[in-house]
Symmetry: D2
Subunit: 300 residues, 4 copies
């Protein structure tokens, strides 16, 4: 069990060569085995975080950032390292993956006509805050073509109407072409079909403009206004077929008053949405997020 | 329109003699008329806050704390002041009430077996933080009799079972006997009937242990755990017949992580609940809260 | 006394024609007099907020947003309205100013090599969140010329070295030429001289990257790291000759942990800085901020 | 490196038998060695958190909660376990300590005339939130004797004047008599001498009523008022000879407005102080806090 309740995104820590992300049934000896494996391969543990749902018969989750001179740059050594680790992994029935330093995750961003999340992601991308290779922006509107292309990112206009949605999704899948590690819905206002989600081949992260499970579905700010809530929120979550029911990666809120119109809530909400989405995406890109029984485990 | 988004409760401000709380259809001249009335009665405005849903055809809400030497202490002058004001009030179709300095509101607290909100209210009461005359604690358990009686507050044990609820409510109403200005449900775990609410003769404030409208009803921390939310909350609201649907006075949240068990959420939630309830009660006791179309207006 | 503790910026409220901002010695009849004046001129009060340091012998502050058909558009009526009001103002020794709807404040932004505050202000400006006419960006570096000019804002490069600072400030004053209502230091890393501040002819707002008065001066994140604080902050304040001692408009903080390097603090701090600066600037542009005895009064 | 930025206190997690807290120079093989040691002793890791200032030549910190049937209850096994571990510890030059489940830390609370922190600690103690054996309350006033003795805690009145301070400290040390694991200053308004701190034989935790390093020393709320800060805070820290300079365990803040008097700041601050102190104490009692170069490392 390791606490992860950051409001900011964790510290970055020292340089590392690779990140191992592990899930397996809990049981004795896992930490020792991983430790011994790393010692045996001359790798130093830079950071390590773990969580267990129950020490005796639960599920175990671990993230290790390790340093091993020359590993990240040498494909042959990487293959050997992974092959060796898979033996250990089999022993403990591990589901695992490894990312190497310098290997940015490939990302697509989908947006509609609200630019606050998109603009924020573009700015953070340029700034180097997000460890991703932004392959393109897909939008059902032409509004942001100039802004996106100005910084050298391809812009794909794929209009969507009720009738053309299957066609549009096929076009979107052609663009992504299985080549993404994550798709980010930066206030993309269309519901993606289960078929799209199964075929896109990577996790999809959405920002919902409410504190879920409150105000799931359409018009959350209008409904927040009508209910008279004193805090409005935003929720970044993995998308599943059940609308707004996917595992929550992060949430945040902002205080509002009775004198806030719906437009005021929307304006204030923009700041909450963009920061919450960026934080969740960053955790995902840094291999911090695992999903277990509909909940996320965020290892810092 | 006046902003009220306090996270703490407003400042107390200077000494005043009385507080006027006004609702009426908006229209020209209200502020001037109230101002002129006060000038004409040699009263100074200590603080004033107002809010209008729409300047032309909306509803207008105003809270004025005023200073008038000798007013609060002299029943005859108070009656004359009120009589004069009612003429003005009629002209603008005002709903209004006035409270005088030194007039503590009469309160009952109802509790069950969780003592964190009760203990907190008792401590604040002793400390003089809450401008109330605490007439008694009513509980469906005997657990806190010693603590409550130790500080000189009557303790009324009224057991409740499913079958005896109507009898219990009659007993509770007998105890309160129309003599309360507010009833506070400090984690009282029984649902009060519409009949009780109509007959108790004063507002009832409840603390719900979730960020409403999320997790209305029973077991909110268990459900928050299962949904995997990253913030847990508490909501203080006026009680209506629709469970957990009453006007929200205040809300707050606290960050939690995947490693929080349901028991951890309950523990952390206790701190959020007691602070949120105390703040909402304080605003109510200070005549800051008005209800309009199911939402509260909190005038600071 | 009116509470102003927003964490978000207040609601915008209904349409209004003008905003009156008033300071004067407190005394009886001010509110009534202002109310009567407005009724007499057929103006509706849209919102009103006030604060008094002491009702008998203190200072009184008031902000009124008013609606008066046709006023904002008609220069002659505006002049007559102001002339009439000045009679009232003289009676109560008021310092006052009035802003009309549609009259954006003229602003210059000064920046150095950190773009997060600048980029955020530019985005909010394009988005229409800030009621300002952005006349230009002045920088001691060329870094952001392309970004700024791309959206049609003039970019002025004025290099500064220790020796050339007086020359540079003269050049900056020539550019501004007394034509600004506010100058915003969006992480401008040069200290402005008292001479500059006296001659610029408008308030200057700075964002300091710490929770003042902690870590005033240079290198706040480094010092925050060394002290081991658990929250880092940002402070937006009016600039005075005493470095980082000017009246605070707003502050905010973000939680950090022992595992945050100085670089992590800087990264997390960027989000706090840009939001805090934007909020403070917005309040200033909306005529909500008054200064009294080195403290700000923010009327919501 | 493990993130610890809780705003609430971490989750409690599953049952464990003992907690190991380790500091040592970082280097290869530590985690593996600890893991192997535990596997070899049939102990399961329940939770583990670690932090390294630098993976190659830094300092390494680790907290392990472990489960080993029967260990906590059997003094002989404990001694053997510790003896075995000390061999490992020597190899890695570890400073370490171990706490067993069921072994509450022995605590004294010192207070003066403000009861909010004291009352809160007493309530949490009764409630079972704090894993401590509260041996007594020491105060330089008689005010809280009744409250403290009512729940069976010894109350020691030790008056202090400027002249009698050395005598008073000797008396306090006699009471504590080397028998405490922690002393908590719950708004104890006397400065403890370096001599006292050296002789008390355990860490001393203080709550300072400001966001340190802002407003160190006396009268923080008065000075916060005068500076016009928009957030007030509290800081829980280990006491060192340098007043308010000790390692910070936790901090929190609350938003305030221009209309808050000094008394309002004090009132609002009470809620921040008591929650911050309780959280810091809880982390200390759960063996989560290490000190390194004047900063705390809080392992969750």
């Amino acid at each position: 069990m390791s606490s992860t309740q950051s409001t900011a995104g964790a510290g970055q820590g020292a340089t590392h060569s690779a990140r191992l992300l592990i899930s397996c049934p809990d049981g004795p000896g896992i930490v020792a085995a991983v430790g011994n494996f790393l010692v045996g391969h001359d790798a130093n543990i830079v950071t390590s975080a773990q969580y267990s749902t129950h020490p005796a018969h639960g599920s175990f989750f671990m993230r290790v950032a390790l340093y091993l001179e020359g590993l990240a740059e040498d494909a042959e050594r990487r293959a050997a390292f992974e092959s060796d680790f898979s033996v250990l992994a089999d022993r403990f029935q591990m589901t695992w993956r490894i990312s190497y330093e310098g290997e940015a995750k490939r990302a697509y961003v989908m947006a509609s006509r609200e630019d606050h999340c998109l603009a924020d992601l573009l700015w953070r991308h340029r700034r180097g805050e997000l460890n991703m290779d932004l392959l393109g922006v897909i939008s059902n509107h032409e509004d942001f073509r100039t802004d996106v292309e100005a910084i050298g990112i391809p812009y794909h206009y794929v209009p969507v109407t009720r009738d053309t949605k299957p066609v549009a999704e096929r076009r979107q899948l052609e663009i992504i072409d299985g080549g993404a590690d994550v798709v980010v819905l930066a206030r993309y206002m269309q519901i993606l079909s289960g078929d799209f989600l199964r075929r896109v081949g990577c996790p999809v992260i959405n920002i919902h403009h409410s504190f879920l499970p409150a105000f799931a579905g359409a018009g959350p700010y209008q409904r927040a206004y009508e209910r008279g809530v004193k805090l409005i929120g935003a929720t970044a979550h993995y998308v599943t077929e059940d609308l707004d029911e996917g595992p929550i990666i992060d949430q945040d809120v902002q205080r509002v008053g009775h004198d806030y119109s719906v437009e005021d809530l929307i304006r204030v909400g923009r700041d909450v949405e963009r920061v919450t989405l960026a934080r969740a995406l960053r955790w995902h890109l840094d291999d911090r997020v695992l999903v277990h029984e509909g909940r996320t485990i965020v290892l810092m």
